[in-house]
């Protein structure tokens, strides 16, 4: 039966036994409940889109199906038989194969070696010869010219992604799960992938396509399931459902009252008309385009303003912040700080201009794990607080005093400032990083997911301090995937797939669900909404 025939059969109610049936899936991670009785039905010969906001449970469900983790409760049936894989090999042997969101490749090895590592995914292909023929056939089918002897890291990111996907696509999987497969692919590779998926599905396989990219979902999927808060809130055919409706389904708004009144799209005319308080904006980003991920971002920050940037993972927000401190080169566009062009050579140069970044990965990028709290507070001030010419002599008493004052204003919970930084909780560590960032002459503070892994109490203190800094005239850019937090922002900019689509003043009518919806709406769809 062809895919379309299956879909029609389902709609007509003569549903042949579905390929996959999940009922009441429940999964806890400690105190967090990722799945609260989720359902999913995937038919044979069907491309099934799995949609949902961050934390909705998509990844968890997909991991259970692939055998990476076990559910707490729920019934899982594959082709009518109970399906409870104990590990990924069992799942793969049963025909359920996952292409993970994170590229599982080893850059130093060749394409052939990388594919070899994934051979457990297609155990029906026995022997290296058979596998190699299959890989070559797949690449040809895809229209790609990739040599099996090429070293992975010499391939473009798009080609690396196709190799990673190839592991799942070869062989005879009956249920292929692709988690955000197009994230690194160019349009040509995406078209090729979709053609391959269609062919697999026409041959009877089922495909679960997890994606944030509603345009692609509309294009490829026969049916969709939307998860929200660990449960299914919608399932049905894709036909007749458009992007806006999809975005509605994913967030809470099911049509009805949407607050669009105070919203503007980032057209140049709109920006030009924007008011400039007391001498112009502190930061103005205009048509920013980077080598990767960021295509067109424009926004402004006024002194004393907290601007939140909302968006999904991969929308390019971190890249924008990195550019502001000189860690990335601008391809086109302009950045101005206080009216003057801002192109710092490196973070040291940016810091001298009063621009500081608090990075996303606390332990890896911000914490000196072997050092004490004083050192961690003072690393931005060794020379400014130092003695002698150019501050070349260290002044431990001054560092200690400055640390003490910062610890107090941040309400830091530590036994002694001479203790190791690792004795602090995540939240308190983050406070230290924030304290370090508040250098003399701070003008623009960039926060990347600042409250990740931070407990509730510390979160509040942290936000108080940020508000305090803003009150003193510091401009703040606040990037967060936890959209509820952006309630504290004065203005919100939404970034979708590398473009700033919508921005608005955050009045008392902050609506998290509306914001979630906007995070899925691509630029043209958002613009259409304003028209």
């Amino acid at each position: 039966m062809k895919a379309t025939e299956h879909a029609a059969a389902r709609a007509a109610g003569d549903d042949p036994a579905p390929l996959l049936s999940v009922r009441g899936a429940v999964k806890h991670y400690g105190l967090v409940q990722a799945l609260r009785g989720a359902d999913l039905t995937v038919g044979r010969g069907e491309v099934h889109g799995l949609l949902g906001a961050n934390g909705a449970g998509k990844s968890t469900l997909v991991k259970i199906l692939a055998g990476l983790t076990r559910p707490d409760e729920g019934s899982f049936t594959l082709d009518g038989a109970p399906f409870r894989p104990g590990n990924i090999r069992e799942a793969a042997a049963a025909g359920v194969r996952l292409a993970h969101q994170e590229l599982a490749i080893v850059p130093a090895l060749t394409v052939r070696q990388n594919l070899h590592l994934g051979r457990y995914l297609h155990p029906e292909l026995t022997g290296a010869k058979e596998r190699e023929l299959a890989y070559a056939a797949l690449f040809e089918e895809w229209g790609l010219d990739i040599s099996l002897d090429a070293v992975m890291r010499e391939l473009s990111p798009a080609h690396q992604a196709t190799v990673a996907l190839a592991k799942t696509l070869v062989g005879d999987g009956r249920l292929l799960i692709l988690d955000e497969p197009t994230a690194s692919l160019g349009p040509k590779e995406v078209s090729g992938l979709f053609a391959i998926i269609r062919r697999r599905v026409e041959a009877g396989a089922g495909v679960i396509f997890v994606s944030h990219r509603l345009g692609e979902v509309s294009r490829l999927c026969d049916a969709i399931t939307v998860l929200r808060n660990g449960q299914r809130v919608h399932d049905g055919r894709m036909e007749g459902v458009d992007e806006h409706a999809l975005a509605d389904l994913i967030a809470h708004d099911a049509g009805g009252d949407r607050r669009r009144a105070a919203r503007t799209t980032t057209t140049r005319a709109a920006r030009a008309a924007k008011h400039a308080s007391s001498g112009g904006p502190l930061l103005s980003v205009d048509g920013l385009r980077l080598q990767s991920r960021v295509h067109d971002v424009s926004f402004e920050v006024n002194p004393g303003e907290i601007v939140g940037i909302a968006g999904l993972v991969g929308s390019g927000r971190t890249e924008v912040l990195e550019t502001l401190v000189g860690l990335r080169r601008i391809v086109s566009g302009e950045i101005r700080l206080g009216g003057r062009p801002h192109q710092p050579r490196d973070p040291a140069g940016a810091l001298r201009q009063g621009v500081v970044l608090v990075p996303e990965e606390r332990l890896a990028q911000a914490i000196f794990t072997q050092r004490d709290i004083v050192f961690n507070f003072s690393s931005s001030r060794f020379r400014t607080l130092g003695g002698g010419p150019g501050g070349m002599l260290s002044r431990r008493s001054r560092y200690r005093e400055s640390a003490r004052r910062l610890a107090e204003s941040l309400r830091l919970k530590a036994r002694s400032l001479n203790d190791s930084i690792m004795s602090l909780s995540g939240g308190n560590q983050q406070k230290v990083v924030l304290g370090r960032a508040t250098v003399d002459g701070l003008r623009l503070l960039l926060l990347d997911e600042p409250t990740r892994g931070v407990d509730v109490g510390a979160r509040h203190d942290f936000q108080q301090m940020v508000r305090g800094l803003a009150d003193q005239g510091v401009g703040v850019v606040y990037v967060s995937s936890e959209l509820a937090e952006l309630e504290y922002c004065d203005r919100i900019v939404v970034m979708v797939e590398g473009r700033a689509t919508v921005q608005f003043d955050n009045d008392d009518r902050f609506d998290e669900d509306e914001l979630t919806r906007l995070c899925f709406l691509r630029a043209d769809a958002a613009a259409a909404e304003q028209a």
Binding site: G30, S379, S380, M392, G426, G453
Partner: protein, 353 residues
């Protein structure tokens, strides 16, 4: 997933760092943990004490004499100077495999140039140190600007330096000029009751200690070595700090070369041979001493002395040279093992992976 944690006011947060493996999980017993932690902090001192005890037992009066201990320190000066240079580079998280070759080149240059008037002699020393600085600068530039891995880059430069040494000497050891014989006084003379080398040892160690611990540059070095990204985002000029570390290392390696020539009385082409391995051994031994896996000046000095005690004891006991090399190699492995384990303990990751 994040677990929600409420910290009551005043309560010291005892949360382990994310990703940390707590004692008792996954097979690491708390006894093993304590043992590793102990070794990381006192391991080297243990080895030192052990060596002293063993050799005191074996050769009593010959080993345990004031003259012998003074000898040990005298033999250590060159090693300390070169190892301290390496320590700075290790602190910023890099490696320098060219130090032995730099010392050799400096040694032959000293032999050739140290002559004539006092001003000329001083100039000669200055020039030799400048050559060391230049080698360090080149090392620093290829590691930072070219992004070449330090192990490979400095090895390559070391090879170039060795070639230069051959060219300069035409393969022949350089004898000191007659007017330059006063250089030997460095090893023969004393400052009051203390032999010059020991004075130099403590002087240079003192200066390096101040540099690493009491200057902003030293703190920047520690920051860069601790977490390069965090240092960069703190506004520290990482490339400049790394380059300066290599320059200091180069200068000290050259200084070591000067001392070698002062000791031996001529410039040997392979004069610096052996100091690479002993410097690494000393620095790693030093990191397993009082500082949980971090490189530091005092530790390196103790590390050098420990190795020197070992060699001294073996020489007195009449152990063959080959056995001495085996000893040094084993010591290096033990030192690196203790140091690395100690480091992993501190940052909370399980030993062994």
């Amino acid at each position: 997933m994040n677990t929600v944690r409420h910290t009551a006011p005043g309560e010291r947060a005892a949360a382990p760092p994310p990703g940390a493996n707590q004692a008792g999980q996954a097979g690491t017993s708390s006894m093993t943990l304590t043992a590793v932690k102990f070794l990381g902090r006192y391991g080297t001192l243990l080895v030192l004490v052990l060596l002293v005890l063993v050799f005191s037992f074996l050769d009593g009066s010959r080993f345990l004499s004031f003259t012998n201990f003074q000898n040990i320190l005298l033999q250590s000066t060159i090693s300390v100077v070169i190892a301290l240079g390496l320590t700075v580079v290790l602190v910023v998280g890099e490696f320098d495999l060219s130090i032995g070759y730099t010392a050799s080149l400096a040694g032959v240059l000293t032999a050739g140039l140290y002559a004539g008037s006092a001003g000329g002699k001083l100039g000669a020393i200055g020039l030799v140190l400048a050559v060391g600085a230049l080698i360090g600068l080149v090392n620093g530039l290829i590691v930072t600007k070219l992004g070449v891995n330090a192990l490979v880059g400095t090895l390559g430069i070391g090879s170039v330096v060795m070639g230069a040494t051959y060219i300069v000497t035409s393969g022949v050891p350089q004898s000191l000029d007659a007017s330059g014989m006063d250089l030997l006084q460095v090893y023969l003379g004393k400052l009051g009751p203390i032999p010059w080398p020991i004075v130099i040892l403590f002087l240079i160690a003192g200066v390096l200690w101040l540099l690493l611990n009491r200057t902003s540059l030293g703190l920047e070095w520690q920051a860069v070595g601790g977490n390069r990204t965090a240092a960069e985002l703190s506004g520290i000029r990482v490339h400049r700090a790394v380059i300066l570390a290599f320059v200091v290392c180069g200068v000290l390696a050259a200084a070591g070369g000067v001392l070698i020539t002062a000791n031996v009385g001529s410039g040997q082409i392979a004069g610096g041979q052996g100091y690479l391995l002993s410097s690494f051994a000393a620095a790693f031994l030093g990191s397993a001493c009082l500082r949980d896996g971090e490189f530091h000046v005092v530790g390196t000095v103790i590390g050098v002395v420990t190795v020197a005690v070992g060699f001294n004891g073996m020489a007195i006991h009449g152990v063959s040279t080959s056995a001495q090399f085996i000893f040094q190699g084993l010591l290096l492995i033990a030192a690196v093992g203790m140091s690395t384990s100690a480091r992993r303990m501190v940052s909370g990751r399980r030993v062994g992976r």
